[in-house]
């Protein structure tokens, strides 16, 4: 038997995954594309006529626009919260002893062992009008009537930041670990204050991790379905839950498909822009 060239061996190695992706990902996407350009007539269903209205309505229709804006707010909000909460923890984990790092990594991963529905339900128990948080605040006399923590942006930000925080931390730790201590020490020897070393050296050198963690959390947030569904209820919708309803409730497949492509396009544009930004910031241009 002839030995394989490295190129052919490489092709053989990627081909199983390539086939799966072609069958279950690329093909359905290509089939969805014409679907998103079909007209949907309420009562009769999908007609044979081509139209762009499924895309234009996302921009012109107030309801759609609100959902898109809300989805983006949620994505950026959750990413920012995860970054602010995750960075200090990740920094500590990166600079501590391997034993403590291992223990903390386990703690960070631990919530992910619990089913997503259960975790989201836990937040309902906490945030509901008669939930733990409101009851406690009322019992303490800090509130007269319960404040609305669910079925709005607050609830979704809280719940989803909690659920996606581990991803941010796990992406940040190795990047921060890779920053040589001598480089930070060098900045100190050049009379830099602690905040100056952080802003001018540590943070820019964390850029690859911040970028990777942010993209991951952002993408997971704006495409999440279960948590927004449970904490947002039937009326407070984001793009993902709207797509779900279009496909499975109203059977308005063309709108759902158009919304899906819009979500994907938005994601790609944001990833592209943030990568360029982070590269320039981290001096890797």
């Amino acid at each position: 038997m002839e030995p394989n060239t490295p190129r052919r061996a490489g092709l053989m190695l990627v081909s199983p995954l390539m086939l799966v992706l072609l069958l279950v990902f690329i093909a359905p996407v290509l089939m969805m594309l014409p679907l998103s350009l079909r007209e949907y007539v309420a009562g009769t269903g999908i007609s044979d006529r081509w139209t762009l209205v499924n895309y234009t309505q996302i921009l012109t229709d107030d309801y759609y626009r609100e959902v898109v804006v809300r989805t983006l707010q949620l994505g950026f909000g959750v990413t920012l919260i995860c970054l602010l909460l995750g960075y200090p923890l990740a920094y500590y984990m990166a600079r501590t002893t391997p034993r403590i790092r291992f223990a903390l990594t386990m703690l960070v991963i631990f919530p992910m062992l619990l089913n997503l529905v259960v975790r989201s339900f836990g937040w309902i128990a906490l945030l509901a009008n008669r939930g733990l948080v409101n009851n406690l605040l009322i019992d303490l006399g800090l509130l007269e009537r319960p404040i609305k923590l669910m079925f709005n942006l607050t609830g979704l930000l809280l719940g989803m930041s909690h659920i996606f925080l581990p991803f941010m931390v796990l992406m940040l730790v190795p990047t921060i670990q890779a920053i040589p201590r001598d480089v930070q020490a060098a900045a100190y020897t050049l009379s830099a204050s602690r905040p100056r070393v952080f802003w001018s050296v540590t943070l820019p050198l964390s850029a690859p991790g911040i970028l990777a963690g942010s993209i991951l959390v952002f993408v997971l947030t704006i495409s999440a379905l279960v948590t927004p569904r449970m904490l947002g209820g039937p009326t407070y919708k984001v793009m993902a839950t709207l797509i779900y309803d279009d496909f499975l409730q109203t059977l308005d497949w063309p709108s759902g498909a158009a919304l899906s492509f819009t979500l994907t396009a938005m994601t790609l544009v944001i990833i592209g822009l943030s990568s360029r930004l982070a590269k320039r910031w981290g001096g890797q241009s």
Partner: protein, 354 residues
């Protein structure tokens, strides 16, 4: 007036003492090397002077001002790291400007100071490059420029040349020394390389196991090693095991069955003690069989350019490595030939087995 003073400086860790009671007084503008094998405490001292490690006890003062408790960023020192520790996300210009910006040097003055620093390490015009676009030697120069640009009171080097290849290392030795003379900054240079320490320094501090062995000029260190450790660390030594003998008023050391060498100076140990003996290759004189000296036989000859090295089996004793200048009369001894080795008693260094 001493410029940098260390008084009874000590660093103890839970399981060992890295630096024990080191006192040094370094003069203004002096170039001092801390020389020793790895783990001797030299880097710990450097990092304590920089303020990166807190001493367990003792005092560090710069210009008679106690800086022991002063944090790193207020000590006004320049430190060149072994890894260079450049800021990879900044241009060469910004790397060098970093310390100057902390001193509020701005605008045209900043540009002039950075250009001056880059010119002094012969990197003028490379300011817009990133560190990753430079060779190892150039990165080293950037690190030096960055540390001297803010005009620190003390310049510290932590084995800066050990990542360079041999040719570049020799070149940088001269350049660093020239640069240090020009800017006149008091310099502490940590190295494990005796060649570097001897060639560059005004004074060398030889360290072992956290203790100063000798602090003197390079010539002094080489000609009159204060301890057996210094003798065995500097130069190219033959390290042998022997026994101390007291014959009449003379101290001798016995190597193997029959070779007895007189030792100069008062005995440091009682007769009969087992001792380590250091005989430097370059201190041994080789001559033909008819001359005075201890008889032996040439086993191997190897030519190393300026010198010829012989392995000589001493009669009734051990093998010694002996050097001779390759242009001298003893350069042509053949293996198998008899030879005599002359050893000056003053160059027989004896220490307790340790």
């Amino acid at each position: 007036m001493p410029h940098l003073t260390l008084e009874a400086l000590e660093k103890r860790y839970a399981d060992h003492t890295a630096v024990s009671s080191v006192s040094l007084a370094i003069r203004d503008g002096e170039f001092v090397s801390l020389l020793g094998p790895s783990g001797c405490g030299k880097t710990t001292i450097l990092r304590m002077v920089a303020g990166l490690i807190a001493p367990t006890s003792g005092r560090i003062s710069i210009d008679d001002r106690d800086v022991t408790q002063l944090p790193v960023n207020r000590r006004n020192i320049g430190l060149v790291f072994q890894s260079y520790a450049l800021f990879p996300h900044m241009t060469v210009f910004e790397n060098v400007a970093f310390g100057l910006r902390r001193q509020r040097v701005e605008g045209q003055a900043l540009k002039e100071r950075v250009d001056e620093a880059l010119a002094s390490v012969r990197l003028a015009g490379l300011g817009e490059r990133y560190p990753r676009q430079l060779s190892g030697g150039q990165q080293q120069r950037v690190a030096v420029a960055r540390s001297i640009a803010p005009r620190p009171a003390i310049l510290l080097f932590d084995e800066p040349l050990s990542n360079l290849d041999a040719a570049l290392r020799d070149e940088m030795q001269f350049e660093l020394k020239r640069l240090q003379r020009e800017v006149g900054i008091t310099t502490l240079f940590v190295t494990h390389d005796q060649g570097e320490a001897l060639s560059m320094s005004d004074r060398v501090c030889v360290m072992a196991h956290g203790v100063v062995q000798q602090f003197a000029t390079p010539e002094e260190i080489y000609r009159r090693p204060a301890t057996g450790f210094v003798a065995s660390f500097i130069g190219r030594p033959n390290r042998l095991r022997g026994k101390l003998l007291q014959i009449g008023g003379d101290t001798q050391v016995e190597l193997g069955q029959g070779l007895r060498l007189p030792v100069a100076g008062a005995p440091v140990l009682p007769a009969g003690s087992a001792v380590d003996v250091v005989l430097r290759q370059e201190d041994l004189r080789l001559a033909g069989p008819q001359t005075a000296g201890h008889p032996g036989r040439v086993m191997l000859r190897s030519f190393v350019g300026a010198r010829v090295q012989y392995v000589v089996a001493m009669d009734g004793g051990p093998e010694l490595i002996v050097e001779a200048p390759s242009s001298g009369p003893d350069a042509e001894l053949a293996p198998g030939q008899g030879a005599r080795v002359a050893i000056d008693p003053r160059h027989v260094y004896v220490n307790a087995v340790g």
